[in-house]
Amino acid sequence: MSTSTTDLHSHGGDSHGHGGHDHADPHFQHHFTDMEQQFDTSKIGMWLFLATEVLLFGGLFVGFGLMQARYPQEFLEAHEHLQKPLGALNTIVLLISSYTMVMGVLSAQRSQTKKLVGYLSATIVCACIFLMVKYFEYAHKFEDGLLPGHWYSHKGDLIPNSHGYATFFSFYFMMTGLHGIHILAGIVVLLWILIRAKRGEFSKAYFTPVDLVGLYWHLVDLIWIYLFPLYYLIK
């Protein structure tokens, strides 16, 4: 062990304790040893953040499961009010956006700025389409009184005096709403890296933000991949 530490020591021997070759990169932060360590650390941070996101939604998934077990019939009937074609369309839109995001990260890694800008723009367009479709779905729910909790005022359900329908829409709006907020946040960070990409900040030497935003975007897509069958395809 002591030999290897001596090697590392000589590497970080100057008074600031980091190697010389990374000084040139303006994105280098001085408490790291080199760019590689900085990149790895950022990535760990992002994965941890994504773990918190999974748990944030996880609680709602569990709550949904419990309530579905309590009101299986009501949940089955309530889900017929959701528009499956629109849900499916949104699933496809998000899958495409995941593809454009992957290609964006790849372009950044290859220093292809023009392609990066294109793919990022395409991803943003997909995100906007998703939200527009969601808007039409929500508007339809509001019109029909398919609303959470005591706001529920839909006429013509089979089981009178059951709260199961309202509970279904409580969870529907909570979960898709929270997901929608994440799409919105995604658009904001995508715009942020789009502007930076246009300035030509990213190249194979430094593409950390593109990579991290990509990870986030995939998680947001992934959550929808679970939400879609959970709500639209109940059997």
């Binding site: 600031h16 918190t52 944030l56 706001w151």
Partner: protein, 550 residues
Amino acid sequence: MEHTLKSQAHVADRPRPVKNYINNDPGIWSWMTTVDHKRIGVMYLVGVLSAFLIGGIFALLVRLTLMTPNHMLFGKVLMTAETYNRVFTLHGAIMVFLFIIPSVPAALGNFVLPLMLGAKDVAFPRLNLASFYLWVIGAIMAVMSMIFGAVDTGWTFYTPYSTSTSGTVTLMTMAVFVLGFSSIFTGINFVATVHKLRAPGMGWFEMPLFVWGIYSTAIIQVLATPLLGITLVLLALERVFNIGIFDPKIGGDPVLFQHFFWFYSHPAVYIMILPGMAIISELIPTFSRKTMFGYRAVAYSSVSLALLSFIVWGHHMFVAGQSQLATVIFSALTFLVAIPSGVKMFNWLGTMYKGNISLETPMLYAISFLLLFAIGGLTGIFLGTLSTDVHLTDTYFVVAHFHYVMMGGTVIAFIGGLHYWWPKMTGRMYTEKWAAIGCALVFWGFNQTFLTQFFLGSKGMPRRYYNYLDQFQPLHAFSTYGSWILGAGLFLTAINLLASLRKPYDAPDNPWGGTTLEWQTSSPPITHNFEDQPVLERAPYDYRPEVVSH
């Protein structure tokens, strides 16, 4: 494993650098915009100690009200039942969310962890500052919910009471939501820091045990806190929009809230106690001048406590209507917690055994911790046992139990750690005599206050009640007198520490003969922590005579 002796240059003889992290670039703006983990740690320290003061004043008021059954003081009723409900709620919420949870990790951990790892900063310095400001915003929201209304739900916000009571419950839950994010950011920062920023030569099992404890804590902070966040959002939406997830009148389930809440808040108990244990694991070997006995066992026990913490939440709900099978399983799982806790206790004792023990103030706190935590831990077994818990649920026995763990455990360890790292943080030594007297008063006052409450609880005094039967009066009064001694001890300790700040720098770099890296830099440290990148050449707690006498 072989450890060379070449790092034994005696740092204490080195001249003190003129510029340190405190006086380098002074001015309030430079502090407020700092990304230096040491300054952020100090700002957190000021914040959490202020919260401790406010929460402590509320605690003294609660005890004062309970001194007599008619709540009279000098011929006047001290507070009404409504006020009393609010005061104990604020005591609990402030102590838990604003003080204990951030106390050790965010204040002491922020300062010490990178130093212990030989790093220049935490992994994400700006995120660290953001987490501090989230704490400030959360604190302001919590204080506003006191000023512009009141919260009388207890710190647990149980539904359906919390969704139907008036007052500023929504603002308070949002405050806790924001504080949760602050806690998550600290956790993310520390996990990434421990993974990637260890000094050359420092493998996982050469990390100080404080780092292991904070690392385990950080994992819980990252994984459990999001659940609290979503639970509180649901609670707020329930109050504002009546979405009906917890309200049985419109199909919801109030017990679901308890499940959600304790799925976070039981791990949160370990967010509170693990850092306390982590400090003790530093103090015991340092002041016993002996290698940590069972280093790996203690390291693993921290991680296993973190994991166990996620599967025992149901023991808070034995009488809340969960299924009998679940109750039995949760009870059995709860007993498992005793194993890693016992591993720690016996390894600390094993470290002290035949050690060269010096009873300086941090060690006095460490020994207090061992005694108090033993009581707190063992009474936890009574509460985890179904047949006894049915009788003890929601009595003062529970109150006494968790105060022995939270205050007798974490807060005592925190104050011990504060005395231990005070010379490093401030560059000043405090007066040893007054610190020791403060510790003795705290220990005495604490036991008088809370040991009494075990008796109250086992005699059937329910927790949180404003009124009580006359027969409980002597014990209540005795407990209240204890709270004054406790308060006096803490006051004396605070004055003693603050008084040291008036002196010029007088602390040596390594006043206690510590072996971890933070003692290898100057007191107080320079802004970049170390003059040269430290390289670990000696495992922590290596007190072999041939190494130390060098």
